[in-house]
C-alpha cells in the first residue's frame, strides 16, 4: 500500500512577542492510501492544526509535508488553492453550507472550479447527493434541513469533485447519536466502497469504532494512548 500523506518533523508555530506557541511539534506521520484514521486528543493538542496542514489551508513553519507526492508546504497561495480543489474534501463540524444556496447549489460550488460540461456536472452532483441519501431534498435551503441532513449535504460537497483525501474536523460534534451514526456509517462507506483516505478528528470514542485506526495527539505530538493517562480518560468519560 502506498503512502498518501507523509509528515516529517512537521512543525507549526505561532509567535507572539517573545512567546512561541507550538501546536505541532516535529510530528512524524505516515498515512497509507485508503486509511480511515481517527485523531483524538485533549483540546488544544493540535488536531485541527494538523488537519488544516494536510488539507492545505495552513502552511507548516518547519518540516516536510508530502500529500500525494506534492510538497504542499512549498506551494504559493493560488497554487495551493488549485491543489486543494483537486485533492481534498473538507468536512466541518458546523457544516458551513451557504445559507443562500440550495443543497444542490451548495454541492455545485466546488464543481465550479473544474471545467466540465453542464451535463456532466449535473450528473455528478446528483450522484453525490444520491450517495449521501439526500437527493429528494436537493432544492431545499440549509435552514430547511436538520443538522444531520446538512452534514450529509456537506459530505456530498466534499466528495463531488472526487478527491482522494477527505478530512473531517469533528463531523459529528454537533449531532445527536442517531444522526452521528448515520454520518459515521456514510464516512465508512466512502472509505470502504470508494477507497477514500479519511482523516477525522473526533472527541467521540464511539466514532472511533468506525475508523480503521485511532491515533492520539498531545501537545503537538503523537502519543501512546496510555501515556496521556487519566487526563484523556477523564475527558473521554465526560463526552
Amino acid at each position: 500500500m502506498d503512502t498518501i500523506i507523509e509528515c516529517r518533523r512537521l512543525t507549526r508555530e505561532y509567535r507572539k512577542a517573545d512567546t512561541v506557541i507550538r501546536p505541532l511539534d516535529e510530528l512524524d506521520l505516515d498515512v497509507p492510501r485508503g486509511d480511515f484514521l481517527a485523531l483524538m486528543g485533549p483540546s488544544g493538542s493540535g488536531k485541527t492544526t494538523l488537519l488544516n496542514l494536510i488539507a492545505g489551508i495552513d502552511s507548516p513553519t518547519r518540516g516536510q509535508l508530502l500529500v500525494e507526492g506534492a510538497d504542499i508546504g512549498a506551494l504559493g497561495r493560488n497554487r495551493l488553492a488549485a491543489w486543494r480543489s483537486r485533492h481534498v474534501g473538507y468536512i466541518f463540524q458546523l457544516y458551513n453550507l451557504v445559507p443562500a444556496l440550495t443543497a444542490y447549489e451548495n454541492v455545485e460550488l466546488p464543481m465550479l472550479l473544474h471545467p466540465m460540461s453542464r451535463r456532466e456536472r449535473h450528473e455528478r452532483i446528483v450522484a453525490a447527493l444520491d450517495r449521501v441519501g439526500i437527493a429528494d431534498r436537493k432544492d431545499h435551503f440549509p435552514r430547511q434541513l436538520s443538522g444531520g441532513q446538512e452534514q450529509r449535504v456537506a459530505i456530498a460537497r466534499a466528495i463531488v469533485t472526487d478527491p482522494a483525501i477527505i478530512v473531517a474536523d469533528e463531523p459529528t460534534g454537533d449531532l445527536d447519536k442517531p444522526a452521528a451514526h448515520a454520518v459515521m456509517t456514510l464516512l465508512q462507506q466512502l472509505n470502504r466502497e470508494l477507497g477514500k483516505t479519511i482523516i477525522m478528528v473526533t472527541h467521540d470514542p464511539a466514532a472511533t469504532a468506525y475508523a480503521a485506526r485511532t491515533l492520539h495527539l498531545d501537545k503537538g505530538r503523537l502519543v501512546e494512548k496510555d501515556s496521556i493517562g487519566g487526563r484523556l480518560e477523564a475527558e473521554e468519560a465526560s463526552v
Binding site: 485541527t48 492544526t49 488544516n52 488539507a55 489551508i57 495552513d58 497561495r77 493560488n78 488553492a81 488549485a82 491543489w83 486543494r84 480543489s85 483537486r86 473538507y90 466541518f92 458546523l94 458551513n96 451557504v98 445559507p99 443562500a100 444556496l101 447549489e105 460550488l109 466546488p110 465550479l112 472550479l113 473544474h114 460537497r157
Partner: protein, 394 residues
C-alpha cells in the same frame, strides 16, 4: 481563475436587510447629490456660459442693475437717444446696431392643462438683434412676427426647460401670459447664453411683462477701425445723461462678472456635495464592515474549497455593484422626477437645474463608484484572517 456564479452574489444580497438598505439608500443618495450639484452647475453653464465676444458689444442698462439684466429697467427711449447721440456705432444699410431688449426669467407651461411650471429665459427683441448678435443664426423656420403670439427657440432651450427636444419643434406651442404661443423658428447660437433662450418680438414681451414704456437694456455694437466709437464714448454718453439713469458695460465684462459671482457658489456646491457624499460613504462603509461579520466563516470555507481570494473579491464586488446599481436607478428616477427643471432663484437672476445626459451619466457613475468602494470593507473583513482563523470565526 474560476469565478463564483452571479447567482451566488445575487442571492447573498438578501441576507442582510441592513446592508442591502445601506447600499440602496447610500448609492441613491449619492446619485441624487451628483444629479443636484451636476444639474446646478450644468444649468448655470447653460445660462451663463458666454463665448468671449467676437465683436465689440456694449450693454446700456439701468444704474444699480449692473449685475442682473433681468432686474434692469430703462426707458425705451434710450435706444433712439443712444443711436442719435453716440457717433461711431456700427451701421449697415441705414440700420444702426442698437438693439433694445427685454431679458426676463418667466414661468411657462407646456399647455393650459399642464401643472408644472418651468422657468424660461425670454428675450424680447427687434429684428436688429440679429445684427447685434451675429452668432444667432435661424436654422429652421423664421423669426417671430409681432402681435401674432409667435416665438423662436434656441437649440438648448428644451434642455434648459427639461423638455424633450421635439417638444420645441417648429409648429408646437408653449403657454405663458395665459396664451398659447406658436414656435415658428429655431435658432442656434453656440456657446452663448442665447442658445438656451426663447426669443419673441419686443413689443409682445413688453405687453406680457406689463412694461410698455421700458426695456431691460440697449445693446449696441461699436464700429471697428477708424471712426468707430470706443467703449469710452458709450460710457461718456451714459454718464452724461444722468436723467436716464443708465450705465454702460462691455458685454464680455457683464458675463465675466456674473461668472465671477457664480464661481464661488459653484465651488461651494461641489465641496458641499463631496463632503456630504464622503460622510455618507464612510458611514455606509462602516455598516458594511459590520454587516459582513457573519460572512467571514463562509468566505473561509470558499477558500478551503479552492476559490482564490481574487475570485472572492470579484464576487463581493459584483454583489456590491449590483446593489449600488439598483440604488443608482432609484436615485436617477427620483432625481429626474424631483430635480429636473427645478428653478433656482438668486438675487442675480434665476436658472433651472438641468439634468441632461452627461449629468445623468455622471450621477449613475457616482452610484456605481459607491458600489466599487462598498466592496472594500467586506473584502477586507473577509480576507483579513487566514483561512484556519476565518473558519473558527462566528
Amino acid at each position: 481563475m474560476r469565478q463564483l456564479p452571479f447567482y451566488y452574489a445575487f442571492r447573498n444580497l438578501g441576507r442582510s436587510r441592513l446592508r442591502l438598505a445601506a447600499s440602496l439608500v447610500g448609492s441613491s443618495l449619492v446619485v441624487l447629490l451628483v444629479l443636484a450639484s451636476g444639474g446646478f452647475v450644468r444649468g448655470m453653464q447653460l445660462t451663463l456660459a458666454q463665448r468671449d465676444g467676437l465683436h465689440d458689444n456694449v450693454i446700456i442698462l439701468g444704474t444699480g442693475s449692473e449685475e442682473a439684466l433681468e432686474r434692469s429697467q430703462i426707458d425705451s427711449a434710450v435706444e433712439g437717444i443712444a443711436a442719435a447721440s453716440i457717433a461711431g456705432l456700427k451701421e449697415r444699410a441705414g440700420v444702426i446696431f442698437a438693439s433694445p431688449e427685454i431679458h426676463a426669467a418667466l414661468p411657462i407651461w407646456e399647455d393650459a392643462g399642464s401643472e408644472q411650471e418651468r422657468l424660461a429665459v425670454m428675450r424680447g427683441v427687434r429684428p436688429v438683434a440679429l445684427l447685434v448678435h451675429p452668432e444667432v443664426e435661424i436654422v429652421e423656420g423664421r423669426a417671430p412676427r409681432a402681435g401674432l403670439d409667435e416665438v423662436m427657440v434656441g437649440q438648448l432651450a428644451a434642455t434648459r426647460l427639461g423638455l424633450p427636444d421635439e417638444r420645441l419643434a417648429v409648429g408646437r406651442t408653449l403657454r405663458f401670459d395665459d396664451r398659447d404661443w406658436a414656435i415658428v423658428g429655431r435658432f442656434s447660437a453656440p456657446d452663448t447664453v442665447m442658445n438656451a433662450e426663447i426669443w419673441l418680438p419686443l413689443t409682445d414681451l413688453q405687453i406680457a411683462t406689463k412694461r410698455e414704456a421700458s426695456v431691460s437694456c440697449v445693446i449696441v455694437t461699436l464700429e471697428a477701425g477708424p471712426g468707430g466709437a470706443s467703449f469710452a464714448d458709450v460710457d461718456l454718453f451714459a454718464k452724461s445723461r444722468l436723467d436716464l439713469e443708465i450705465t454702460a458695460i462691455r458685454e464680455r465684462d457683464y458675463y465675466a462678472s456674473i461668472a465671477a459671482f457664480y464661481g464661488p457658489i459653484r465651488v461651494m456646491i461641489m465641496v458641499t456635495a463631496i463632503l456630504i457624499a464622503s460622510g455618507g460613504i464612510l458611514g455606509g462603509l462602516n455598516t458594511m464592515y459590520a454587516a459582513f461579520a457573519s460572512r467571514v466563516r463562509e468566505v473561509g470555507m470558499l477558500q478551503a474549497l479552492g476559490f482564490t481570494r481574487l475570485a472572492i473579491v470579484a464576487s463581493l464586488t459584483e454583489e456590491s455593484v449590483f446593489a449600488a446599481a439598483c440604488g443608482a436607478l432609484i436615485g436617477t428616477v427620483l432625481g429626474l422626477a424631483l430635480l429636473d427643471g427645478l428653478a433656482v432663484r438668486f438675487s442675480m437672476g434665476a436658472f433651472a437645474l438641468v439634468l441632461d445626459a452627461p449629468v445623468v451619466l455622471l450621477g449613475v457613475a457616482g452610484g456605481l463608484f459607491v458600489g466599487l468602494v462598498g466592496a472594500i470593507p467586506p473584502s477586507v473583513r473577509c480576507l483579513r484572517l487566514r483561512i484556519p482563523e476565518a473558519l473558527k470565526s462566528f
